[in-house]
Structures are given as structure tokens and as C-alpha cells.
């Protein structure tokens, strides 16, 4: 087995961190493009929740591989946990508020699970 020079693992961590930073920044950019270009509230909500959270997680992984200290990694894991816990809740609240105030075109929803004719306790809907 060949001898690995001492700086190999730090260089490898830097390379992986650079790749993670690039991927995360590109996903955040994609989220921005989607938030500007998509045509309805739910489509924009999709773009803001999914690529944005993954992009932020990748950026934080890149930062953790770059700083390489355990206290920093613990706090970054806390940020990731907060993002993963709060982004679905925020998206759910936004979409529900949009539905209740009539900002969602119901013809776009192919399985319309908020349809009051399907379920007994639909929200504020028919008659």
C-alpha cells in the first residue's frame, strides 16, 4: 500500500467542499429562476421549497467540509434540521392560505384533495 502524503485528505475535503458549494449555489439559483418564472402560486412554492432546501444543505455541507471543526459542524447540522423541519411547514401553511383565499386555480389540481365534494369536511367550499 502506497504512502499517502499528509495533505491528501485536506485537499480532498477542499475539492469536495468546492463541488458542494458549486452545486448548492446552482440549486439556489435554480430556485430563484423558478420563483420568478413559474406561473402559479403552487408552482412557485414547489420551486422555493425543494431546490432551495437541497441547495442550502449542499452549501452547508461544503462549509462544514471547509472549516472542519466539530462545533461548527454541530451548528450547521442544527441549521439543516431547522430547514428540513420548517420548509414543509411553511410551504403547507402558504398553500393552505392560498387555497382558502382563492388564489389557487382548482382546475390545475389533478387529484383535488381539497375538493369538498370528495370529502365530508372540505374547507369552506361548496354551498
Amino acid at each position: 500500500m502506497t504512502e499517502i502524503e499528509p495533505g491528501f485528505w485536506t485537499a480532498l475535503a477542499d475539492v469536495v467542499a468546492a463541488l458542494c458549494l458549486l452545486a448548492g449555489a446552482f440549486l439556489t439559483f435554480a430556485a430563484g429562476v423558478g420563483a420568478l418564472r413559474f406561473g402559479s402560486l403552487l408552482a412557485r412554492m414547489h420551486s422555493v421549497t425543494k431546490p432551495q432546501v437541497l441547495g442550502l444543505v449542499l452549501l452547508l455541507i461544503g462549509l462544514a467540509l471547509r472549516v472542519r471543526s466539530w462545533s461548527a459542524v454541530a451548528m450547521l447540522a442544527l441549521v439543516v434540521v431547522f430547514q428540513l423541519a420548517t420548509a414543509p411547514v411553511a410551504a403547507h401553511l402558504l398553500s393552505r392560505a392560498g387555497f382558502r383565499t382563492g388564489k389557487v386555480d382548482e382546475s390545475e389540481l389533478v387529484p383535488n384533495q381539497m375538493d369538498p365534494s370528495d370529502e365530508a369536511d372540505g374547507p369552506q367550499g361548496g354551498a
Binding site: 420568478l36 462549509l63 461548527a72 401553511l93 392560505a97
Partner: protein, 133 residues
């Protein structure tokens, strides 16, 4: 190695800054308060991303608690908007169909008439013939 890292950090910072600008455009353009809440959410995420990129460039750990605080503040903002500011009052010049309670037909809110000609015209109802020229 450092020059490669400089290029990577510059490209990543430019991408995240452009994402923040697009979020600002969405906040300005509207059309409802919920879209602005989405834009604010994305803006907070872009801010966290930029601070993370800067900390990764300088290998500093002092700014990491800012990330924890910002990720919570953005959540509180969007939840507050969706709970309390989603039902915005009717503007007398922009919408005149305030008859909400007419049975099955839930009226799609006409929020800003001058945006209806753009690419995102799916949620404004285009058929309000009494206010079309």
C-alpha cells in the same frame, strides 16, 4: 488550489446573488402576499447561502450562529404572513367582484390588473370583461 477555490467561491456567490435578485423581483412583482412570503423565504435562504459561502472562503466559524438565527427568522416571517396577512383587503380600483359567498364558484382574486398581460397570468382571472378596454 487557492485560485481554484477563489473561482469556485466567486461563481457560487454570483449564482446566489442572482437568486436573491430574482427573489427581490418576485417580492416586488407580487401578485399576492403569499408570493411575497415565498420570495422572502427564498431571500432569507440566499442570505444564509451567501454567509455560508463567505465563511467557507475564509474558513471562519464566527458567523455560523448567524445562520441558525436566520433560518429561524425566515420561517417565522412566512408563517406570520400566511396566517395573518393572507386575506388582504379588497382594493376598490383593482377588484370589484367582492361577492365571495356565491356557492360553488369561488372567485379567483383579481389582484392586480396591470400584471395580467405578462407570462404569469394564470391566477388572475382574465375574464372580467367589464374592466377590459
Amino acid at each position: 488550489m487557492e485560485t481554484v477555490m477563489l473561482v469556485v467561491v466567486a461563481v457560487a456567490a454570483v449564482l446566489v446573488a442572482v437568486a436573491a435578485l430574482l427573489a427581490l423581483v418576485r417580492i416586488e412583482r407580487g401578485p399576492s402576499m403569499l408570493d411575497r412570503a415565498l420570495g422572502l423565504d427564498l431571500l432569507a435562504a440566499a442570505l444564509v447561502g451567501v454567509i455560508a459561502i463567505e465563511a467557507a472562503w475564509l474558513r471562519r466559524t464566527e458567523t455560523i450562529p448567524i445562520l441558525v438565527a436566520l433560518s429561524l427568522v425566515g420561517f417565522v416571517g412566512s408563517v406570520a404572513i400566511s396566517r395573518f396577512a393572507a386575506r388582504e383587503p379588497a382594493e376598490p380600483d383593482a377588484r370589484d367582484d367582492a361577492d365571495v359567498g356565491d356557492g360553488e364558484e369561488r372567485p379567483v382574486a383579481v389582484l392586480r390588473v396591470e400584471d395580467a398581460g405578462e407570462d404569469d397570468g394564470t391566477e388572475e382571472s382574465p375574464e372580467t370583461p367589464e374592466e377590459r378596454p
